[in-house]
């Protein structure tokens, strides 16, 4: 598939080098900070679970208590396990309950031996969590071997979002039976700004269902059944982005989710989360994903819902290069990089479809080993559902012609409602028609000067922008509205108070083992 654009390898190499240069300061920042959510993720892996009567998880209570006593900068592992030893309360969940009741105080031991003991215990506990993650990964490998991967590329990705996990399950199963390879359960609006992960099975989300460990478990179990029934392993996706990225990543690893939405900048741009908080959280969460064998999906498509898809095409490329750099740095392999892009050019623009092909092919050829995630039209969808289904058909065709890896199925009711059962069925029928009837059309697709020229232009604009970012720093670029027209200064945004600079003696048993 690669090689239709004749991209100059030196230009490509230069783009990558610039991205690394632009990204490195952010990596340094991430390595030198921690956040409440990173620490809670450690405790979740170490076995803390459940929530208090108000629904606030014990991990939150525990981290808040530690933080009140000694701050976050040392990491919570040592204070917590030290307290466990000194109090003799080995069950951390019980410890958290006691801490919440004010009957435990935390401190950072001074003695080398005490530190060593606390660290050892922490490592053992967190190791047990990672072992679950490893077991889940092996289980996935086994199930894929048994049931098989989808027969075709792109894999077909469908959204379920009733708000009620018990409605979601049959809908997801129906979607899989109708041809979906990947089910994504969209979260309730607003969850990404909760600084905790809700607990239990939930039935009351708005335009999405809460991401909880129990919901993950229920849906994964249901899809395992369906995988068996269909003889095809159905992947499950959820969202890491938000204030709880690291924790959700840990839960996803422990419940065998297969893909996670995880973008290095989405939270900053589209949820107004503090940039530093996001960069720290995304790094840790990606390390966990790497370990869990989870494919990440980045969020470049979102830029084109606010910015113009032609004018801002190069910002997508820049962001993909940055996401790739950050992902590699966190240990993710190329096959785990579901880099995002989207079919969002104004359909009234002359040659709009060919411009889409140019952009999609550029991404394909810049990241030949990555399972690119191709997002459907949303911005230019209207209440005209007949036209909507047509646009989605051409989106599907562009996906097939340019060899995309993951196809998020577009819905004719995009501008109207979250997908109905029948919308999904109509949409899948659309995908099937296109892939079956025209899926091999790439054999007859040899981009001419228009498409090649446009791809070159976008790549060059991306390089120009990267040069500017290298000069000004990525943080400033984000503050200036470079991506998706959103202006997000580094000292603003939600969740900044959950960030702490790592002290000399910062210890994180999970990071150590990743």
């Amino acid at each position: 598939m690669a090689g239709k654009l004749d991209l100059d390898p030196r230009t490509v190499a230069r783009a990558r080098a610039l991205a690394a240069k632009a990204g490195q300061p952010v990596v340094d920042l991430a390595r030198s900070h921690t956040t409440v959510s990173v620490e809670r993720a450690v405790l979740r892996l170490a076995g803390v679970h459940g929530a208090d009567a108000d629904g606030i998880p014990w991990v939150n209570r525990l981290v808040d208590a530690v933080r009140a006593d000694v701050g976050l900068g040392h990491g919570v592992a040592v204070p917590v396990f030290h307290a466990a030893t000194t109090t003799g309360v080995e069950d951390l969940t019980v410890l958290a309950q006691k801490a919440a009741a004010g009957s435990v105080r935390f401190d950072v031991p001074e003695k080398k031996a005490e530190i060593a003991t606390a660290r050892r215990l922490a490592r053992r506990a967190a190791g047990a969590g990672l072992k679950i993650v490893d077991r889940r990964r092996a289980e996935r490998d086994r199930l894929i071997k048994r049931f098989g991967d989808p027969k075709q590329r792109p894999w077909i990705y469908l959204i379920v979002a009733t708000g009620d996990i018990y409605e979601d399950i049959p809908q997801a199963q129906a979607a899989a039976r109708a041809g979906a390879d990947i089910i994504a359960v969209i979260r309730s609006t607003g969850q990404s700004l909760l600084d905790y992960v809700p607990e239990g099975a939930t039935r009351e989300g708005f335009a999405g269902t809460y991401a909880t460990q129990e919901n993950f478990r229920l849906m994964r179990a249901a899809l395992d059944e369906t995988s068996k029934e269909l003889g095809r392993y159905i992947r499950l996706t959820n969202y890491a982005s938000g204030l709880c990225m690291p924790e959700i990543a840990a839960l996803a690893g422990m419940e065998r989710l297969d893909m996670m939405l995880n973008d290095s900048m989405y939270g900053i741009l589209f949820r107004d989360i503090n940039p530093i908080r996001t960069f720290v959280d995304q790094r840790f969460s990606r390390q966990v994903h790497a370990r869990a064998g989870i494919i990440i999906n980045t969020g470049e498509d979102n830029y084109l819902t606010t910015a113009d898809a032609v004018e801002a095409a190069h910002t997508v490329t820049v962001s993909q290069l940055l996401n790739e750099f950050f992902a590699h740095e966190a240990g993710l392999q190329d096959w785990q990089l579901g880099l995002g892009h989207a079919f969002e050019i104004n359909p009234d623009l002359p040659d709009s479809f060919r411009l889409e092909l140019a952009h999609a092919l550029l991404a394909r050829e810049l990241f030949p080993e990555a399972p690119l995630k191709w997002m459907p039209p949303t911005k230019h969808m209207t209440g005209d559902v007949f036209r909507g289904n047509l646009l989605d058909g051409f989106f599907n065709l562009a996906g097939a012609l340019t060899g995309q890896g993951i196809l998020l199925v577009g819905m004719m009711t995009e501008a109207v409602v979250t997908p109905w059962l029948s919308d999904r069925d109509i949409a899948l029928q659309n995908v099937k028609y296109v892939l079956n009837g025209a899926g091999n059309l790439h054999e007859d697709f040899t981009p001419g000067p228009f498409i090649r020229g446009r791809a070159d232009q976008v790549l060059n604009e991306a390089i120009d922008l990267l040069e500017r970012i290298v000069d000004d720093t990525l943080m400033d670029a984000i503050a200036d509205g470079t991506f998706g027209l959103m202006k997000r200064p580094a000292d603003r945004g939600k969740g900044l108070d959950g960030v702490a600079r790592q002290e000399e003696d910062y210890y994180n048993p999970v990071e150590e083992m990743l």
Binding site: A161, T162, G163, D164, E167, Q171, T382, G383, D384, V385, T413, A415, V416, V417, T418, P419, W420, L421
Partner: protein
């Protein structure tokens, strides 16, 4: 069982509706569209698309919830009230009970020239993997083809001593299919006394199978009919009820 339409949640009652009103697009037109949706029982109704076409027409798409309940127990359908037989069984039944071949005359009447449907039922080739009635050794089939006039049909039916007459009607504009069918059944009633009249069967994709009485025919077949169903019905109606 009582059910409601289902969008994405049990009981949400959601439906999609589109139509044109012969008025130009403005706020009043949108209100008019919502008024219609309201009269159809949509509440709340969301007008999600409106587009003027030419000078004086506007197309609307409306989504919304209907309050109506559907009672599946009150549904009237023409369920198959006869066993579905294999070709062998059909032939055997005719041989045993009728002791002669059963005569079938088929045609597209009026100005309708859509023969694919009736050919699917009658011709050897059949449809959906099933052979047509010509394949049945105990059926003697005369396929008169398209644009047959009612007098011609009656004449041929008489001549061939038809046990059953099969008529196809595909064009429905201005209810052509209903007019033609009524004209046909009236002609048979006029031409032949009750006992001598062949079984009258009509078929086509847009017929309502409940309308036999109104149209004066014995049976109506609609979308997706297969030859076996028709053959089985013939056996049922002509060898069980009458013979």
């Amino acid at each position: 069982m009582i059910v409601r339409p289902y969008g994405d949640t049990t009981g949400d009652g959601m439906v999609q509706l589109s139509f044109t009103l012969p008025i130009p697009h403005d706020k009043r037109a949108e209100g008019a569209a919502l008024q219609l949706a309201g009269k159809m029982g949509m509440d709340p109704a969301m007008l999600v698309h409106a587009k003027q076409m030419g000078d004086g027409f506007t197309f609307f798409v409306v989504y919304g919830k209907v309050g109506h309940l559907v009672d599946t127990d009150k549904v009237q359908v023409v369920e198959r009230d006869f066993p579905l037989l294999s070709a062998k069984e059909v032939n055997a039944a005719i041989k045993r009970r009728l002791r002669r071949r059963l005569n079938v005359v088929g045609a597209c009447i009026g100005t309708d020239a859509h023969t694919v449907g009736i050919d699917a039922i009658l011709n050897l080739k059949g449809i959906a993997g099933e052979k047509g009635l010509e394949y049945y050794s105990e059926l003697s089939v005369t396929n008169m083809g398209a644009q047959v006039s009612v007098p011609e049909l009656v004449e041929t039916a008489r001549e061939k001593k038809a046990d059953a007459v099969l008529v196809s009607q595909v064009v429905t504009q201005r209810d052509a299919h209903l007019h033609n069918t009524r004209a046909m059944s009236a002609a048979f009633r006029e031409a032949l006394p009750a006992g001598k009249r062949p079984l009258l069967i009509v078929g086509g994709p847009r017929f309502d199978e409940l309308m036999t009485g109104e149209l004066g025919v014995d049976r109506i077949f609609s979308r997706g009919t297969t030859p076996r169903e028709v053959a089985s019905y013939l056996v049922h109606a002509l060898t069980e009820n009458r013979a």
